[in-house]
Symmetry: T
Subunit: 145 residues, 12 copies
């Protein structure tokens, strides 16, 4: 039976490709979703792709993953740095968690250097552009194999 992965996206990622292209590139979130869908199909994963600007909704989605998913790929965006609630939700999830940042957060403002999510994530991939999602899916496939 195929494994399921939730690919979750935090605040403002719905604007991907429209804001600060010098940092985030010109691909849109729909482009990312398409690439993730293609690779998931190729490597035998079911995928659900969501985005929300709301911390509470992201907590809800992670809680839902507890029964509906085998792994989570999460780009927490701004909530990386401020959300203990998301960290706690992830701690209640038993499967692999991969954290993705499109840009290299260590070269940006100092408040972006710390991520609460990293305290729970199994792996962290930053600065690989939107390819980071695909690398994370490959890692998930390996861990769930």
């Amino acid at each position: 039976m195929p494994k399921t992965v939730f690919v979750l996206n935090g605040p403002n990622l719905n604007l991907l490709g429209q804001r600060q292209p010098e940092i985030y590139g010109s691909e849109t979130l729909a482009d990312v979703q398409a690439s993730c869908a293609a690779l998931s199909a190729e490597i035998g994963l079911e995928m659900r792709f969501e985005q929300s600007n709301s911390e509470g909704t992201l907590v809800d989605l992670i809680q839902e993953a507890r029964t509906a998913a085998d792994a989570i790929v999460l780009n927490p965006a701004a909530y990386s740095h401020t959300s203990v609630a998301i960290l706690d939700a992830l701690k209640a999830f038993d499967g692999p968690v991969l954290e993705v940042h499109i840009s290299n957060i260590h070269q940006r403002e100092s408040f972006r250097h710390h991520s609460y999510v990293s305290l729970r994530a199994d792996g962290v991939i930053a600065g690989c552009g939107t390819q980071g999602y695909l690398l994370a899916l490959r890692r998930v496939a390996t861990l769930l194999a």
Copy 2:
């Protein structure tokens, strides 16, 4: 006329009994609600019991308490450490506020040692397990007597 207390619960507490039982025990939030209801009845308090994963919804509930409740018992969970908005909502509430943490937050990660809610709470009860809710209700009863 009986006094009313709001018992409010923050993010991920809906998972109580299901996640990290070594920290939070095996009782569910429904169990806690039942215990609180029983004790409230015994000591003559009306009680409303709510949980939300959303910071904004918790602010809404606290604002609602301004006219609908005489006291608040609040387990802010992760928002203890990050929410100035909840602190500000509590500052607009005139009655007693009791803060409850199931675990002893002072023995966990350092970012859990500080609580914005404690800057407004009249009393803080931590590390007494789910009995902490009941102790808080007893304190509320005394203060409202």
Copy 3:
């Protein structure tokens, strides 16, 4: 064609005039809205006035302003100090951003001295009471002229 400005208000500002009048004065948010509407009409600005207790909703409103507004006047209240998500949304907005605080946040608790929003705002007006909104609108009018 007239320019449009969004005047956005963060958590607990719906209680304006009802809580801590020694800090925030006795005017209500409806009073502020009325004053803003009057001045906007006088100086030729279209205005939309919103308040939310939810960080995610405020992010949504700022994103909406990207196409619907020429400028933003924002009183982020408690989220000034904790929300990177709002900062990131503002960074995706191209027009002028004016940050307003009714009280002088530099004379309050130390955690209110830092504002993420100030890292993007063009101008910051604090401690001018609700007149701060009107001063901000005047600045917006100058910048959009």
Copy 4:
């Protein structure tokens, strides 16, 4: 056979009711002792009640509890913030330890926000006035049941 609890009080608590009544209330330590005795009798606990201004004497009392008591309720007062010796003594005690502060220490000077005792205490109750002792005894009774 009834369980025994030591209720230990740190420096200056012998002045309770006489100093800073706006913080500590007007009850004396003898009043607290009487209330604790009454509740202990009601819930079936033997109780010994002591106060000392000396850190060394408090260490001695805690060491004595190792063989003479099943639980400790401790209001360490000023030594909360400065005594590693008391922490170490408590670490050598196997039963439940409940820490009580009459006032909410998180709203006082910053050096009162940290308690060494909290690093060992099972539960911490602050800001519930002298009722905090009674709540702690109830918790002890549950834990020893």
Copy 5:
């Protein structure tokens, strides 16, 4: 009888329009004085406009304002960040104090983020360019009305 306001300017503001125009714009201090004079006349304020590079002279001027002025608008420039003497002088002044910064100091070097003057100022206006002086005068007029 008309009210009097002192508009005081700190070190290097005599170079306004000549240095770092990307931060401070191209208006000179004489231009600012003219704009302030015009608005003061319009809203019925007497105005005195001064600049000094010397901390002691600024202290003298603020002391003089105790008897000669009803309000102070102050752009303390570099002394914002280093002068307790100016803060103390302002504390001895009873009327409204408005602090103005032409640039948004929160987006510059970290040592410019803190202002001693803000500890006394009633209102703070930053990042509104030289229009900040005019907004401050409007606030003064309201406060003195």
Copy 6:
């Protein structure tokens, strides 16, 4: 009726004149007592002079002063830097408290720069050698006059 002052000395001051004379001089504590007695007689104060190496004993003495003394002159020595218990005892004393340090503690190790006692003392005299006691007694006489 003459006023009474307690002159209290903290740990190791019994060695005065014997240890580190380059810091503390060659006078013994008995010499200091004699000088204090002489000046007290001259300016009409009753004086009691005590020294202890024990924090608890110093707390006891300060508590005793609540009914037996009108003022306290205290050289807390090492406990200046570590004792919240002594601070709390002093807070329960209503009369003037003068803190004396023989050496200028601001020129010694950094952990000697902070004194808990200074948070309650009315006056602090440091670096005036043993004459500091006499200056403190003069100040006490003025305050009790």
Copy 7:
């Protein structure tokens, strides 16, 4: 031949008795000068009494003291906390330096807790009101005897 002492006063002390009387009392600087003159005469000291709001002028006065005075009593006021220049000038002076603060600076804002002048002063007297000047003169007399 009589010894000479300079009594120097820093910024805003010319307002003594007029500003913040709850902190500084109602005596004026002229009153202080008169008291100092009287005591100096009594104990055989020549005295020169000066005040300046300017850091540079205070440096000049301290430099002048190198040849014209045997000791300095200095109330550096705000410059205590910010002036390395005054510290360096004092380091070039060989005689006794007594630092006086009318209020107990350790109970005020945290930026007033540190004094550069204390790094050179032989003695520091704080919180003894304007009597602090007189105590300092007595200490000077002893040191110059």
Copy 8:
């Protein structure tokens, strides 16, 4: 013409598979080299694989890469946290740099949370085990394509 990538490994990685297998797994560095060689061949990259315990040798290798390689994959191990020299060498390299950590350094001792190398790396992959090398090679292939 095929692109060349240097895969460089820092101190103690020669012990991979032999030390702390609970952190680093049981694969040896030779295993990693073989996997990297296989994937490089598959995706058309020339690869050179080196390890050194010496900071200076790693600097030499990075300098050599300036003319001999198109990209660098670097697991700096302990030198991540202490070597500015390696950072400076990387700054002199123009091609893509991918930083790999086998474990999630954010869940280990706090001194491992900061990496100088991240200040130059284009991408950072941590906590993906030895698969991290392969993910990095895929990213390199994309960037060099």
Copy 9:
């Protein structure tokens, strides 16, 4: 004439062998005393062995050593981290001081990493179990030889 060494033990060391054996081992303090006595006899030292839970008593013992002992071996336990009074007493002792910690304090809680006693001790021996006392005695013998 044989040299005398005081072997002094701080709070809770009377429980040695009874508490936290995974840190402190199973030897009792009486065992340590016996080993120290045996080695002292072998290497020609007179030894006095004391333990106290009271900071003041330890200060008294160190002061007594000034005339009664040639060297001190001190395991200050919890007071290592909090007692300036013990440091000051040791500073008044002229002979060698050896500080012993049974466990390696650098691998425990961060507040145990700093020792005031180390600021005076000639040598510090940590993490050698109770053999640390014997190593310290050997060092004392060498220094007194």
Copy 10:
């Protein structure tokens, strides 16, 4: 046409050779001026040499240099560490700025380790004694050539 350099000296440098010769040597400022004049003549620079104890006067001199000088050599002395006003004045100067410290400030008190002036200076020369001025002039000559 010869280039002009201003050599400016901060507070207390007029005492050079008279104070703390172990730090600053025995040469006077007149000696330094003579050496600078000689070298300037030799290498073809016009030189103006000034000293002031006043921060404001130093700001004035730097402003004057904007039109009257091609380069500035500045020994800011104590104002290095405290003056943002001097930094801002230097930022308005377009030519080379060389900062000179006679002593090696990195080996003195920690508050002397940071220099605001270094944030603008092109070069910094410390610890080369008064020869530092001459080295700075040589650098100026090279930069203006």
Copy 11:
């Protein structure tokens, strides 16, 4: 079969006896080697004695000890404070590790107070001069017995 111990010495210890004799004494490293050899023979240990100025070489030696030695005595000198690589190498060694510092590092510059090596060492001996090596060997003998 005799046990083997590596005695390893970090940078600049080859200069022992030649540099800073007031800190390190006059014995040379050859003297220390001889003493260690003598004691090792006496207590039945094989010993290898090495020194290197290179961090990488020390890592190599520690790695070699994994198969060639039963215990390590290490004086890491300057690398104590800066080398995570040496710490990691030691973590890959299973036997006892004793850390030796000739001087008491806690009384020197603050950057010498922290040792990465102490995070792995079983025991730490500081300030016992070169005798520290011998004490460490005794401890090793006990642990390997």
Copy 12:
């Protein structure tokens, strides 16, 4: 007999002129060596010029200088900020030490603001480009004269 100076260069300086020319200029290290040789000859100094990427090799060279050189000019590059070993080697050298940085390190990343080498260097020259070496040689010549 001519004096000898070692001119030593730290990591990556062999790339001078090839990397980051906007910071370091276009001169190569060979150019610098030639300039140094020319000036040394002119002012009568023997010179040896070395570069290494290895911290240990730099320590070796400094140790060699103890017998082979009268002075050291050192550009420690990245090791300025991380090497206590180099500091310790320099402390064992008796002659003058001049530290050179080509760029003004105080205007770069904050971790470049602190130099261990400055704790021993007699003089520090930064931001004077490669001319800094020549200025340092002139200073050496003066000190050795």
